[in-house]
Symmetry: D2
Subunit: 281 residues, 4 copies
Amino acid sequence: MSTNKTHQSPEEWWSTSIIDMKPGSIRIRGYAIEELIGRVGFAEMIYLMTRGELPTPAAAKLLEAALVAAVDHGPQAPSIAAARMAMTCGVGINNAMASAINMLGDVHGGAGEQCVALLNTIAARLGGDATERRIAEVVEAELRALPEQGHVPGFGHRFHPIEPRAPRLLALVDAAAADGSVSGRFAAIGRALEKMLAARKGRRIPMNIDGATAVVYAELGFAPPLCRGLFVLSRSVGALAHAWEEMQSGQRNKGPIPRHLLWNYTGPPERSLPKEPARPE
Amino acid sequence: MSTNKTHQSPEEWWSTSIIDMKPGSIRIRGYAIEELIGRVGFAEMIYLMTRGELPTPAAAKLLEAALVAAVDHGPQAPSIAAARMAMTCGVGINNAMASAINMLGDVHGGAGEQCVALLNTIAARLGGDATERRIAEVVEAELRALPEQGHVPGFGHRFHPIEPRAPRLLALVDAAAADGSVSGRFAAIGRALEKMLAARKGRRIPMNIDGATAVVYAELGFAPPLCRGLFVLSRSVGALAHAWEEMQSGQRNKGPIPRHLLWNYTGPPERSLPKEPARPE
Amino acid sequence: MSTNKTHQSPEEWWSTSIIDMKPGSIRIRGYAIEELIGRVGFAEMIYLMTRGELPTPAAAKLLEAALVAAVDHGPQAPSIAAARMAMTCGVGINNAMASAINMLGDVHGGAGEQCVALLNTIAARLGGDATERRIAEVVEAELRALPEQGHVPGFGHRFHPIEPRAPRLLALVDAAAADGSVSGRFAAIGRALEKMLAARKGRRIPMNIDGATAVVYAELGFAPPLCRGLFVLSRSVGALAHAWEEMQSGQRNKGPIPRHLLWNYTGPPERSLPKEPARPE
Amino acid sequence: MSTNKTHQSPEEWWSTSIIDMKPGSIRIRGYAIEELIGRVGFAEMIYLMTRGELPTPAAAKLLEAALVAAVDHGPQAPSIAAARMAMTCGVGINNAMASAINMLGDVHGGAGEQCVALLNTIAARLGGDATERRIAEVVEAELRALPEQGHVPGFGHRFHPIEPRAPRLLALVDAAAADGSVSGRFAAIGRALEKMLAARKGRRIPMNIDGATAVVYAELGFAPPLCRGLFVLSRSVGALAHAWEEMQSGQRNKGPIPRHLLWNYTGPPERSLPKEPARPE
């Protein structure tokens, strides 16, 4: 599918519904920038930019909570390590941040996006009936369709037996659902997934940060690829803080392990080129 | 300068004052993450991560205003164009955002950082005396030290004769200064710079978004490299929104201009290799 | 699948079969670096690094031809435009090259990889019988399995009715096949694909640069993901040359179109925030 | 300095002397691509793309030797570690290569560039007189102008007491100088630098790979920023080989150290938010 028209002008080639400019005027989604500054929060601005409209106060609060939750998970994460390493290599702080963000791929940064897609699939199958029983039925069918050993995005953690961030985010969703600000349906699906995963595996596979932010983002109606984008915005804060801390260390060319250690070599033993040169010299 | 110690363990090699983890526990600058979620805003979290302490409410509000102000300046900016182009090339949305951020270098993203450094230099020279007259004196001396044709970071704009964001941000700084939340000294220096630049050049060179956010960040005490980082966090929102809009277009391999146009070729005319091969075949 | 062992040492965590070092000694795949320098060509070194062994002279020559063929396709390619734009933003030349390479994703840089995978699938189905008739049969079955409107990676071009690089590369493969240096099987499959695509579509869909380099790489036995990597090595040369040319231009913040042009705005008309602030101030 | 003309057309905005295209025709610096393929080597193509003309056979051989020499220095280098880490995060192999290259900044990838600049400065001061005595004089003056503790780019190594690559590259330069293919002047300057550094420091500070490739590139007349670019092209081969090796490992989210190790936390002890919320909820 392509929307290329054959003879677009350069101005048509660069079209957007996000921002309009005239000399002296910048409007975001129709609002004058000077009106937004000081009136809307950063999380609200993120919502406006990506969704086209301002969020309700309840939606803004949930979005903000999810953005706060995922800023950092320490320098063992490849992204954060990369920000720190890059900062010692003589590049700008923006380049160090870019190197970090560039690693938030399908495996490192995509679980939230994948979990939102799963939540949406389940919600769509529910149709109008979101009783606990019906949710259980659909979730079970969905899990059965996954390979037995399969990993369910948003659940399980290598390090935390109990994930400290997920219950707090779910409690905020519950509070918003209680006053009708959000449906609460995705929190119910998330909890059903957690329950049935435990039954299936015979041990608790707790909802993790990707699962909990996915519940928030699904409740707010964010499309899956945007969810990865929101995670990037959040983790960029960690990348910045770590890059800045490393910048102050004065290290040069910081590699992954201290320099008195060396890697394991597992390749062929010492050998020489054949006597005959590999090509005419 | 290097802080490498010869025999650090791998754990010492990766030290940080930002985040501590134990199984089931994540603490940011000493605070449990589950306590921060829902209690502090995203801008406050950014402050905590980069500065080590939570901001005052007034500081949080100013930081938030500056972050809101710089999210986007349209697809003619190389960074935003890059996010859109990358998104049509079959990469993840994080990669598209990284490509955008990677362009926020000294020229595209560094004016705020440079302006904060200039404001700090001037403030340091003021010493205890921040009267209008003393500020004018120091600013004039500082400007005289710059090359006549030199560009002063944070002032002037190719497109906007009046920059709509700067006066709004300065008004917020003024309000915070009025109740003693910030010193107001950097706003005064910024205005003096604008005034004397105009006198020097014989035309108005208005403070731009980089200058206005620099005033905010200097009032809040952010170190110059962090200011570029804050700009990156802000403009990342634009990169995400534009990447997402482009993703929905279905375009493939979007180059800078429509495909019925071609570039100007300015190189040597058609020619052939010499008869003799360039090297033995 | 994961090979994480629970208690690897940091040295085991960083294992490689590519390079071994001792103080004063660097060995690549077992060969002393000082023996390789001046004895093997750059293309041979690429082969040794990625494959573990030195190529035959014929293989080196084919690899070199494919690397030469794909260095550049002009500044309308998003990658090359990005290199030029980045270079005007105040970043290092390596950052500009990284921004370019970061765009060589599934759509912009992946067709060769996908075409090698297709060629390998077809070759595997041939089994021992690689007669023209058998190839035609298998290719036809493979094409029938693709969606009618589907794009076949490595074939067709938006710009070139006849692709100037493909016939030359295929002629080199033919010459190598004639003296037994390569099998020639993948060239035969590639030509069969081109022929049957034309029959299917009722017009010529010529093999393009991705298809032709895929034939070369498949003949040489490169795994599909390495083929994207080889394309990256090749196109990096274009990224460097264009970044350098742009660096000499002295441009600042070069966007996609000249600054007297503006983008089309397609979003909501001018509007104001509601009277009530979006959240308590 | 800016070359922006006010009303360039989009075609003029995108001008280049590198490549010309018409339907069915691609010319690089005036040469038809199909003529270059199979006739010129990859190193020659790199020279043609970046310099505008084909190299002499002797120049091509020296360039090739320098490109071969720098492909890899192991996974302790931040760039190579980044390529491997990125590859386990669910991104494309081009993204992993971009993350590596993005780290070849002033500190990690810039020493060669800086050394070429130094060699050029010294050569310019020599004027017509390149006797050993005059070189010694100018080099000594140049070293005296550097801070006592200063690092001289291209000399010294943390790991190798004797650098195995440098003597081999210098021997190739000597051979080319002996038959008049290059001047040999930069090799002489490099050796003088090494000798006087040793005298100054009271211990050997051997020329390293950056210094040796700088001698080669200076002899060939490459401008300093291009030298960093050539290093990027060379080290990209290492990035590709390591990314590919890591891809085959099946690792997910490979951080810098094994997961049973944790970083040192050096920040504030456990603490709680103040009772009063940080802002109105």
